[in-house]
Symmetry: C2
Subunit: 334 residues, 2 copies
């Protein structure tokens, strides 16, 4: 059985999976990233995890699997053509030739790309978007990012820098963003942004059940999941924060629809676990701001594989790159 390795590298953990040609995760490992030990140590850990996954897994027929290629989803700015991790703040990486190093170490075709792109690639082709031609995917997490897949291909833009949905400057927002701009969508609508807004409101004395749940110093423990819990008890602050986040996302996505005409929008990442608490106001705002011709056909859906989409996406990204590469080698031989 031929498989593809998909690796999702986060600031905290690395997840490595073996994925069938059809996009099924058949085996999975998770290890801490320990980025503080430096890029070489992290690359070695990725390579060792891929080897361990292959060595420890047997297919349904009891035989070892054959690894065709590996795909790695990395945070930050990635040049997938050159195989270079240009900049990843939370890993402390800059201009790291990750693809060539891993390729030399593993003796295997290795492809890298930004983790939001590989995630959306996986969801668009093997998840919620399977069978859909034009997909925009959004991840709501520490920040907000987007990626676009058209007829099976990722869209990159100049210097591979498309997809900064979270840094659209929204009217009516006044918080500074670490990027240097003021009023970026993600200062309010990302999971971290929502938590920050809640903390600010609690510190300024707004009435909320969250104060009794997280008294004093414990306020630092508040997470986006707690906002959903408070929302379900009808807490006015939690309701207003989640609805405003959904509404802002809907407004920003209306710009994406008018410009790029997707057939489907997929909402993923940790913040999407808020489900309809965010999706309802998002959909309402978005639909009220786009031409009727879009409105009648656009599908807005949650991601299908929130946990595995990064792994599936990275592996299937590698499969597509590998297949294209094999095809062009065949062509040049013909």
């Amino acid at each position: 059985m031929e498989v593809f390795a998909g690796v999702d590298v986060g600031g905290t953990n690395i997840v490595c999976g073996l994925v069938s040609s059809a996009g099924q995760v058949v085996h999975k490992l998770k290890r801490p990233t320990e980025a503080g030990r430096g890029p070489d140590a992290v690359l070695e850990r990725i390579a060792a995890m891929i080897e361990e996954a292959v060595a420890s897994y047997r297919g349904e027929d009891g035989q070892p699997v054959t690894l065709a290629a590996a795909g790695i989803g990395l945070p930050g700015l990635v040049d997938p053509e050159e195989g270079i991790a240009k900049f990843a703040g939370n890993l402390g990486w800059r201009d790291l030739p990750a693809a060539s190093r891993l390729k030399a170490r593993l003796q295997l075709p290795v492809f890298i790309d930004n983790d939001v792109r590989t995630y959306v690639f996986g969801e668009a082709l093997y998840g919620a978007g399977a069978g859909t031609g034009h997909v925009i995917g959004v991840t709501i997490g520490t920040g907000i990012a987007s990626a676009m897949v058209n007829e099976g291909s990722l869209f990159y833009g100049f210097r591979h820098m498309s997809g900064e949905l979270g840094h659209i400057v929204m009217e009516g927002l006044s918080d500074p963003c670490p990027c240097g701009l003021t009023g970026c969508l993600e200062t309010y609508a990302s999971a971290s942004g929502m938590v920050r807004q809640a903390r600010k409101a609690i510190e300024s004395g707004e009435p909320t059940v969250l104060r009794s749940w997280f008294p004093g110093e414990r306020l630092a423990e508040l997470t986006a999941a707690d906002l959903s819990r408070a929302y379900d008890q009808g807490d006015a602050l939690a309701v207003s924060i989640l609805e405003r986040a959904g509404s802002l996302l809907g407004r920003a996505l209306s710009y994406a629809v008018s410009l790029n005409s997707p057939e489907m929008i997929i909402i993923g990442g940790g913040g999407a676990l808020a489900g309809n608490r965010i999706m309802k106001p998002l959909e309402q705002e978005l639909m009220s701001r786009i031409l009727p011709d879009y409105r009648d056909r656009l599908k807005i859906v949650p991601a299908m594989h929130n946990d595995d989409a990064g792994v599936t996406g990275s592996a299937m990204y590698a499969k597509h790159k590998y297949t294209a590469l094999s095809g062009s080698i065949q062509d040049s031989k013909a």
Copy 2:
């Protein structure tokens, strides 16, 4: 000498040009569209104009030219794959198989697409964007539309409906748009929108030199060019309308930059003749709303061939389609 015909079909006039392989317009005709005579009459006029252009032109060597293919830029919603003009309000066309009809009539490969796309295609590859990989082009006219060219290919989106920059709903605008939405960018920032805002202000008694230029009934004659004239005399109303239009365009384009990361933005169409009166506030607003990494590299430029871009674009669009077609026929023969 091999040439390509490029035809730009407007509500008022049809312009037909012969264009060299290098993108030079060598010969050009203009005739009224007379859309009221029906689609068959307009298609026959297009065909006759192409034949007349070829018959009446001799190359530098005095020899007749060879016509390889024709490209037609049509207003409204076009399906370039099926060759169908889906909907064009100002021509009264709906689901017209324009490409196959013209192909049968002319015995020639004929390709059609939306006129903003062919215009931007021409500007991106043979005009202001020559040598640039990722281009977003905007036309400011009766409405506002956009198109995107990536590494030599037009971006379409689902149902070929991308590029509705003019129907982005902007915060702070309250005019209804004929599309059914309220506050669309083009209600204020298109050439027609600016003129409408000026008329409204004049009727409500705002002080402006325009009132003396267009007293009473003559107000109907006011055009966007008059706003530029009044701007140059320091007229406060004209200054505020042109600056607001530029600033709104800059804000809407900041969304396009964050989502799609173009290397260059080209501003064309009649409204772009206002030049720096619009470009300055546009650039200022746009640059203040995008990540520093975009700001350092983005080029914002006026269209190079405002008059001929439609013709050049349609012809070069045909050339690219024709070359791809010839290539795939060669491939299937091989």
